[in-house]
């Protein structure tokens, strides 16, 4: 028969439960072997970059929350650092330390959701429940700090939205205690689990050279053994003052990425403890009239503050002409914000370097030539958030 084709084309997604959103992967199968895997994107395109161009600088911050909705604080931090770099604002030390603390909290949040969903894809149901149970403590902390459980918008240009709550120290320590107890459960369930090891070891292998050529970042790059962490390589927000290690993998497979993320959670807790122990005193916003909003107490009683407050909110602030790029290490990798400023109060162009989107480019390399059942594991090990991929 001449009209029988050798390969079968299969659409995985956009409603497949283990594609973590609305990702569609067009798979060409030869029996059980994947010949070609092509991710098709754009089902969740919301035009966030374009929306940010139409908003004043401070109004663009809520847009960044909605990209990687599992790591809102990291996105806020990246954008605010970029604007602060553009405006050359010096940030008080306390603000920097609080930001570090919250960014690490966000990393744990992001990794916990990854851990739960990835393990669920591989058949470990209770992991999802345990991970989300412990994530709840982080959500409560977000709520206490920023007032919202997911779209916090807490980090602002020049500082923070409000001063940290009184029980900030106690709350974070409680979170650390919860996660530490949870980690024992996760590691007992997964690290030596025969089924989990069989499903992840040797799956989605990327060599160090391949990972660099694909410009990957985050745990995906470090899983292949490349020592690249922006917190060490290019410290921002006084990360150089903290003592932590960057875990590295050897084989570059899904199991190594799992080990790295677990180790990163531990290191994040270490950083958070250091930040709490040495938390300096100081204001929660930089004092830069005309750019950074004055504290609320001043607005109600001081005429000058009131005038600045009105001016910033209605007109924003004018930037110098130029372009900046600021990248930070979020839970998923390097998230960078490029802002091209044309001297007005709105950005001329905002371009986001999304880690999920660029890491997703490694999917064909991980899947092609391997078994069909391992595609789910490969997608899971990348740790994508489709809100960030499509923006």
């Amino acid at each position: 028969m001449s009209n029988v084709s050798k390969t079968v084309t299969l659409n995985m997604g956009p409603q497949h439960p283990s594609t973590h959103g609305v990702l569609r992967v067009v798979l060409e199968l030869d029996g059980e072997t994947v010949v070609k895997a092509e991710p098709v994107l754009g089902y969740l395109h919301t035009g966030i970059e374009k929306t940010m161009e139409d908003k004043l600088y401070y109004k663009a911050i809520p847009c960044t929350d909605r990209m990687d909705y599992l790591a809102p604080m990291s996105n806020n931090l990246g954008f605010c650092l970029a604007v602060e770099k553009l405006m050359e604002i010096d940030i008080p030390e306390k603000v920097q330390w609080v930001r570090v603390c919250l960014a690490e909290l966000t990393r744990i949040n992001s990794h916990l959701v990854w851990l739960g969903t990835h393990a669920l894809d591989l058949g470990a149901m209770s992991m999802l429940l345990y991970a989300f149970r412990d994530r709840e403590s982080i959500m409560d902390m977000y709520e206490a700090v920023g007032g919202q459980r997911m779209m916090t918008t807490y980090i602002r240009i020049g500082g923070l939205a409000q001063d940290i709550p009184k029980d900030f120290d106690k709350g974070i320590r409680k979170v650390i205690k919860t996660i530490k107890a949870g980690l024992v459960d996760y590691e007992t369930l997964l690290t030596n689990n025969e089924i989990f090891i069989n499903r992840t070891k040797g799956v989605g292998v990327l060599s160090a050279e391949e990972a660099i050529n694909l410009s990957l970042s985050g745990p995906l790059l470090r899983g292949s053994g490349v020592n690249q962490d922006l917190r060490k390589a290019n410290p921002y927000s006084s990360y150089e003052k903290f003592d932590f290690e960057v875990p590295l993998g050897k084989n570059g497979d899904a199991y190594d990425r799992y080990l790295i993320r677990i180790e990163e959670i531990k290191q994040s807790m270490r950083i958070m403890e250091q930040a709490l122990d040495g938390m300096p005193e100081g204001p929660y916003r930089a004092h830069v009239p005309g750019i950074v909003l004055p504290p609320k107490e001043d607005i109600l009683y001081k005429m000058e503050s009131m005038i600045f407050h009105f001016k910033i909110i209605t007109e924003g602030f004018k930037t110098p002409v130029g372009a900046v790029y600021q990248a930070i290490e979020s839970g998923k990798g390097e998230i960078g914000f490029f802002i091209s400023a044309d001297g007005t109060n709105k950005p001329h162009r905002v371009r986001v370097r999304p880690p999920s989107f660029i890491n997703l480019a490694a999917l064909p390399k991980m899947c092609e030539g391997n078994m069909f059942a391992d595609v789910v594991c490969a997608i899971g090990s990348i740790d994508i958030v489709l809100g960030e991929v499509d923006r």
Partner: protein, 166 residues
Amino acid sequence: MNEIVRAIGNVFLKMPKGFVVTLRHFFKKPVTIEYPKKKKPMAPRYKGRHYLERYDDGTERCVCCGLCAAACPSDCIYMEPEENEKGERFAKVYEINQIRCIYCGFCEEACPEEAIFLGHEYEFSSPDLNSFIMTKDKMLVAHPRKENPFKKLIRKARKVYGTVDK
């Protein structure tokens, strides 16, 4: 052969450790709550449904300066000003489209009179689209106040100016 022995060892020695973890949770207190019957207390800073504050004498705090509407990233606030017989400004129309609103709290932060706040109420789903347009009478707190305010006010006293001659 060695491989098989190792696999059997894993199944009988390491896997039961995992079962012990799941079994232990069988005896623990549940972490979930029966939601509609029991409710979780919200954090003091929680941003829920908006409400408009009053002074202790019952007059509205809002002077309709429009700063909340200017600060709103999703442009969901609409207002029309008017003056009363004393010459004081107040909002004749004050509407918030709750479907557009993203609950970022910029309005609360922008308000120079401490008039608008985001409260702790989060159950406002409705089958009627029009009910999501929050008007002033829905948002203003009752006078005299029935419940404690959700958020602390910095300035409690009302500034009294002389009446404007017309």
